[in-house]
Symmetry: C2
Subunit: 138 residues, 2 copies
DNA sequence: TCTAATTCCTCTAGCAACTAGAGGTGCAAG
DNA sequence: CTTGCACCTCTAGTTGCTAGAGGAATTAGA
């Protein structure tokens, strides 16, 4: 069994964040030692790594809860879970599309900033200029 | 002169957000009408468009404040503005790469889900597994 | 073995970047 | 002239944490 500090060390998730995740329902309520300290099994390392990687990909905790609910019911038929995965896939595709717009916008800005003065700098100008940006706003 | 509502309409930035930006030092304290209502000049439309566009590109308010202060010194080199954009570009590229990893995992999961069980899916596994993730952590 | 440093506990409060609501004033149209 | 909207200030809520207070327990070194 792992203390919260060991769990933190093995996953890179900070101790207060682990406690926060517990409050937020991302982690099951752990066992306690006789002196009231949290004790975690090895499965929690996996679960925390999963949460951390998903967070790094930009998933909100709610979406991660959905994904975790898949792995919490490994014997369930995929029919019910398929919808969740599809929704996540569509969300990921939308994120990628948007980020690729932003990427080319940033590249364009940088290429136009060829070591000149700010008065000639296209970075600031293009950030003001809506027509050139290629990002859709309503 | 524009009321806060007109300014909001012309820029797409919500009224409470404009007031928030004022508190946050992103916008100069505006004139007031005799009845205490905010009045904005045309320059504020430009400034707000700049802020909104920068936010949509993922710049934090602090970086936008830096960019705004740079644009007040037009004779300096634009290297600093370029550097801020470079940092954003690198962050965006990293996110795209990770999301594409996840996208193919989700696609694989959905295709494997044809009649199978969740326990055979590799999404959770690949998101838990540090070695496969392609992202560097410390 | 004793002590000092560390880890753990709970709790509250703060961060960014807003958003929503309460409760009140002003202004323009029917 | 009154109704209805836009505006005002202020507080509080949101998400996903992070930092600190104040206190108990465990571990490491002399």
């Amino acid at each position: 069994m792992l203390s919260i500090g060991k769990l933190s060390g093995q996953t890179g998730v900070k101790v207060p964040t682990i406690r926060y995740y517990e409050d937020a329902g991302m982690l099951p309520v752990p066992e306690r030692s006789p002196s009231n300290q949290r004790l975690y099994g090895a499965a929690t390392v996996e679960r925390l790594n999963f949460i951390r990687h998903s967070r790094e990909l930009g998933f909100p905790l709610e979406a991660i809860r959905d994904l975790l609910s898949l792995s919490d019911k490994p014997d369930q038929s995929c029919a019910a879970a398929d919808a969740i995965a599809q929704v996540q896939l569509r969300a990921v595709e939308a994120r990628i599309a948007r980020l690729q717009n932003l990427k080319s916008e940033l590249e364009r800005m940088i290429s136009q900033c060829a070591g000149g003065k700010i008065s000639e700098c296209r970075v600031i100008e293009s950030l003001s200029d809506h027509d050139q940006c290629g990002v859709e706003h309503k």
